[in-house]
Amino acid sequence: MYRYDEFDQVVVKERVEQFRGQVARRLSGELTTDEFRPLRLMNGLYAQLHAYMLRVAIPYGTLSTRQMHMLAHIARKYDRDYGHFTTRQNIQYNWPRLVDVPDILADLASVEMHAIQTSGNCIRNVTSDQYAGVSADEIIDSRIYSEILRQWSTFHPEFSFLPRKFKIAVTAAADDRAAVRFHDIGVIVHKNDAGEIGFEIMAGGGMGRTPAVAPTLNKFVPERDLLAYCEAILRVYNMLGRRDNLFKARIKILVMSTGVEAFTKMVEDEFALIKDSALKLPEEEIARIRAYFAPPGYEDLPVQSKALDAHLLKDKAFADWHSVNAAAHKQPGYVIATASLKPTSGVPGDCSSDQMDAIADLAEKFSLGEVRVTHEQNLVFPYVRKDDLYPLWQQFVRLGIATPNLDLISDIISCPGLDYCGLATARSIPVAQQLSERFSDLKRQKDIGELRLNISGCINACGHHHAGNIGILGVDKQNQEFYQVTLGGHDGADASIGDITGPSFPADKIVDAVETVVDVYMAQRQGKERFIDTYRRVGMKPFKEKLYAAH
């Protein structure tokens, strides 16, 4: 994985001191509330519902064991013994004191981490495929370009006061696991016939009030031009994006109102003027970063593991977990294992400091010292020897992170909702908890098969409900929690936005409503058809009929 060199280290160190100064200026009254707000937000420090909340970036989701231990340490020392992994490969602490935040940042800097630009109207943490570097379906490790973008976007002098927040995601795999089409800029790495790397670049995707699947602007931007192309998009957006209306300030609105063709032309014109500038990526720099993501020291192992096969035959619970939470690795003899942070009735994404420490120890022992955080709020062990999978799973069981539900209906993506968030209009996690109980039976879940269920507590859609096969949006109706249901959202390579079923459901009816949707699917599906495919085939009508039959 990437390691800071002296330049990177200086940046985070100086950032810590700058923020320490800003906090001191706020406490002394030199800065007012309004002046301090944008400064703290640019460092991921929110004033949330109950207290401050600090969001720490986990660039492209990659964590070393040292970093994971530090996250545990911070939870223990400055917070309440837990952290919450978010839907954008970040971790949030819900109870830090303002006066402690500079020290927290210093602790983070000591392990090459930061909270830079985890909020604010700037370029946010760059996210990527959690299987980068280990999946068989990728062209190259997408984190190389994520890291290049991370550096370029850090304290960008021109793009730190954009009309609105700006999110970039990168994938290099055929199966898009980073939801790149729902980002302000989505980057897909391709290789052309000549074997050269290039990027398909999309812009104007997003969730929120006006969900949009990003259209492609350019199908193959040469590798060396990645930054110039992104800079061109950002410049057009910075100058022309709306600043008069918060709800229309995202780049997707600019793309929609300008039209994809006209927008693309503006970007291409700007790009033509800057592509030969200092933004051109030197081959040495790409090589330097690439070297950090070279394959680790794999052992030469046979494809089959006798130990694994034996345990699969012997232990039914393990076999069940394996069939769901283990993924194929590109290296023979290795496997990708996902630890679930979605236990039945649990809080999706929550992780205690003891769990974090234990997970770090396990990663050290079983996964070459590396863990990945997913936007689905789970943790991936990317380098597990097949021979080690059984003992690793046993430890997962001990830690309560062995729920075999990856990509199943109880692997729910959820924002914090009204329990913690100052923007939320309804709670989302309690709904997730009830749903995970209702569908806790593993046999039933596996029978239902791949089904993404996403819940957001407000229109900002941090719970990605637009992209859920079943999406749930909490709304406030006369001080009562109601939940709107959408069907048919999807965030893979064939991304789509969910359709609203109709009137929303009261809190005590939403779980039944979801069950009704599942029942209709089970009745309608043909063979092994996934929910999304059934929905696309049969459409909304049968679901709607059943959902609103009594009305």
Binding site: E6, V10, E14, F161, M239, R243, A278, P282, E284, R288
Partner: protein, 436 residues
């Protein structure tokens, strides 16, 4: 309203004028609307004209007129409106505008650095106290990832430079720094870690064998990053040749402790040169070491000790403070070279000194090589060099050197002394003996 221009408070000769206000006689800034409306009249005025752009007025629409304006003033209606950042960049980069680019309106102190990076060279500020804020804000970061309009080089360029400096592309350097090939003794211990080590001659020989053949930058890198990580310092005089070593260090670890002995008898030029180099090389850990005021009060109350007992003067102003400052370090780097003559003619690259390892990476460098290095890296020369000072120490004891003279001939001229003592008196001993 006060104005910060080019890093200092400046008298603002420009006045802003509204669209229907009478024009001032002197330099006047008008809006884009007025420029478009009254262009012909404005061009006949006999005073400089400036242009004011609102945040929704991109400079593209006046690109061909820009040469007519002495200043382009960019308005920030609120600090959140980031459009003028792009305008500044375009004015400089795309339209090649060379005049003053000014920012005014609602600007946070924490945006000053961004403005500076994008070529804004003046800011209308609410009060003169903002100058201090401005200077602090500009010093908050020393590494930048993006190419800007300013002279700061982005990390990517610096990395390339470091990489090329570390590449063994100049074998001649290696030859020049090679020391006698002393085979290591049979019982040569493994290379010591950064833990405190007792330095024996045998160890130094082993060290020399392992590292003595490296070029200066590689040797420094190995010492800083591997052998003595966290326990090594550079001692620099910021004299005529110091820039070479400082430059090498700045490309390896700008945060390496650099100990600078301010004897309080130095040339003002040296102090200014120090600040210039620290700024240009962006050194982040230069520690200025000063004499113990008690000792000075005691032994040199009227500051004339140098004239009576130069050795004692050096002792309290250099030897003792350095001994104290080196406490806790296992090794230090010096800039001494053999060509400097006299006792330095036989200088090894790596030597033991008072329980520490002393590294002299430039021991084998010639004056020509140094000059070449200065030129190649665009390093500034010490301001006194052109005045004939080839080796610079404290003002009272440094004289010019005549052509043909040994370069250190100007040091303690007329005295039987050619070293101050930091390179020979056992530093640790003097620390004890002086009772510090």
């Amino acid at each position: 309203m006060p104005l910060i221009r080019d890093g200092n408070l400046a008298l603002d000769q420009w006045v802003h004028r509204g669209d229907d206000e009478p024009l001032a006689d002197g330099p006047t800034i008008v809006s884009l609307d007025r420029w478009k409306r009254d262009r012909a009249t404005l061009l006949t005025r006999n005073a400089p004209l400036g242009l004011r752009l609102k945040s929704d007025q991109a400079p593209a629409q006046v690109a061909t007129d820009l040469g007519l304006f002495g200043v382009v003033a960019l308005e920030f209606p609120t600090f959140k409106d980031g459009r003028p950042f792009s305008y500044a960049k375009l004015l400089r980069d795309r339209y090649g505008y060379k005049g003053e680019v000014r920012a005014f309106g609602h600007i946070l102190r924490d945006q000053y650095l961004f403005l500076d990076r994008l070529g804004v060279n003046s800011i209308e500020v609410k009060d003169e106290k903002q100058l201090k804020e401005f200077k602090t804000a500009l010093a908050e970061f020393s590494v930048f990832y993006q190419p800007g309009v300013d002279a700061r080089r982005p990390a990517m360029a610096l990395r390339r430079q470091v990489a090329s400096a570390l590449k063994p592309s100049r074998p001649d350097f290696d030859d020049l720094t090679r020391v006698e090939d002393v085979p290591p003794p049979a019982d040569a211990p493994p290379a010591p870690s950064s833990a405190r080590i007792a330095v024996s001659d045998a160890k130094v020989r082993a060290f020399s064998h392992k590292y003595g053949h490296l070029s200066a930058p590689k040797l420094i890198a190995a010492m800083i990053d591997v052998e003595f990580k966290g326990s090594i310092a550079l001692v620099s005089s910021f004299g005529t040749e110091a820039a070479v070593l400082l430059h090498m260090v700045s490309e390896i670890d700008r945060n390496l402790p650099v100990l600078f002995l301010d004897t309080q008898k130095l040339f003002g030029e040296t102090l200014r040169y120090r600040d210039q180099l620290v700024g240009q090389l962006r050194l982040t850990n230069v520690q200025t070491i000063r004499p113990d005021p008690e000792r000075v009060k005691d032994l040199d109350p009227n500051g004339m000790l140098f004239s009576r007992r130069a050795n004692l003067c050096c002792q309290i102003r250099k030897v003792e403070p350095l001994a104290k400052a080196l406490h806790g370090y296992d090794a230090w780097i010096t800039g001494r070279k053999r060509y400097q003559g006299r006792r330095r003619a036989v200088l090894p690259v790596i030597e033991a000194a008072e329980g520490r390892v002393k590294i002299n990476p430039l021991a084998g460098w010639s004056k020509d090589l140094l000059d070449e290095y200065f030129a190649e890296h665009g390093l500034p020369h010490h301001p006194l060099e052109s005045e004939g000072f080839l080796s610079i120490g404290c003002m009272p004891c440094t004289d010019r050197v005549a052509p043909g003279e040994d370069m250190r001939a100007g040091r303690w001229r007329g005295q039987d002394k050619d070293e101050c003592g930091i390179h020979e008196t056992p530093a640790a001993q003097s620390l004890t003996s002086s009772g510090l």
